[in-house]
């Protein structure tokens, strides 16, 4: 069981800010593939992962990072702070 968070237009496309996901995905990329297969709104949000960033337990990570031991995954577009 993993907590998955969405921000900005990823959140808007998927329609929820967070959800608990039952998964055995080994990496972020595997999790994305699983989510894409769920419903159109996920496929739309994850259509182009080069436009997305991911954080594992609140630290930036790569899409090939392993999920073992991770409790919180967040997907969002490139940040625009400042």
């Amino acid at each position: 069981m993993i907590e998955v968070l969405y921000f900005a237009w990823v959140r808007e496309r998927i329609g929820v800010p967070r959800e608990r996901v039952e998964t055995t995905a080994a990496t972020v990329a595997d999790l994305v593939a699983e989510l894409r297969g769920r419903e159109d709104r996920y496929a739309a949000a994850f259509a182009d992962t080069s436009a997305l960033r991911v954080a594992l337990d609140q630290g930036l990570a790569d899409f090939d990072a392993p999920l073992a031991g991770v409790r919180e995954v967040a997907f969002f577009p490139p940040m625009t702070g400042g």
Binding site: F7, A8, A55, Q58, G59, A74, P78, M79, G81, G82
Partner: protein, 145 residues
């Protein structure tokens, strides 16, 4: 070193004065303030963030700046929520013995806050809403550090 992530407005003058007064020993204080520009009929700027990660990311960035430029102190305040044109979004302040360090540390903090702190801006206009896209030049600015 203080990091504040808040929806409330901050008192820029009071923050700058308090920061500067608190760092006797430093010869140079640099501040940056980011303001919502009233570009093209903008009525509001909505700022979303990632509670928890935001504070951690900014504290990491500020600690890096303090260590790298031997700063006497650093301050970051960043707001989230709905802001109107003319309102201050955020500020950073840096204090160092000499001006070059204070300037460089402030620019470093800004470059990282722009592209590595989990904030997202949405522009609200009468015609509609649009998420602000990350700019290539902001990503490029990180490479100089």
């Amino acid at each position: 070193m203080r990091v504040a992530v808040q929806s409330a407005a901050f008192d820029l003058g009071a923050e700058v004065a308090a920061f500067t007064d608190s760092v006797i020993g430093a010869g140079a204080v640099v501040t940056f303030t980011g303001i919502v520009r009233p570009d093209g009929g903008l009525t509001a700027m909505e700022i979303e963030h990632y509670p928890g990660m935001t504070e951690k990311a900014i504290s990491d960035i500020a600690a890096q700046a303090v260590a790298r430029w031997a700063l006497a102190d650093a301050l970051v305040i960043h707001r989230y929520g709905s802001l109107k044109p003319g309102e201050a979004i955020m500020m950073v302040a840096t204090a160092a013995p000499h001006r070059a360090d204070a300037f460089q540390a402030a620019e470093f903090l800004m470059d990282y806050l722009k592209s590595r702190a989990p904030f997202w801006k949405k522009e609200i206009r009468a015609q509609g809403e649009a998420w602000v896209a990350a700019r290539d030049e902001d990503e490029a600015a990180l490479r100089r550090w």
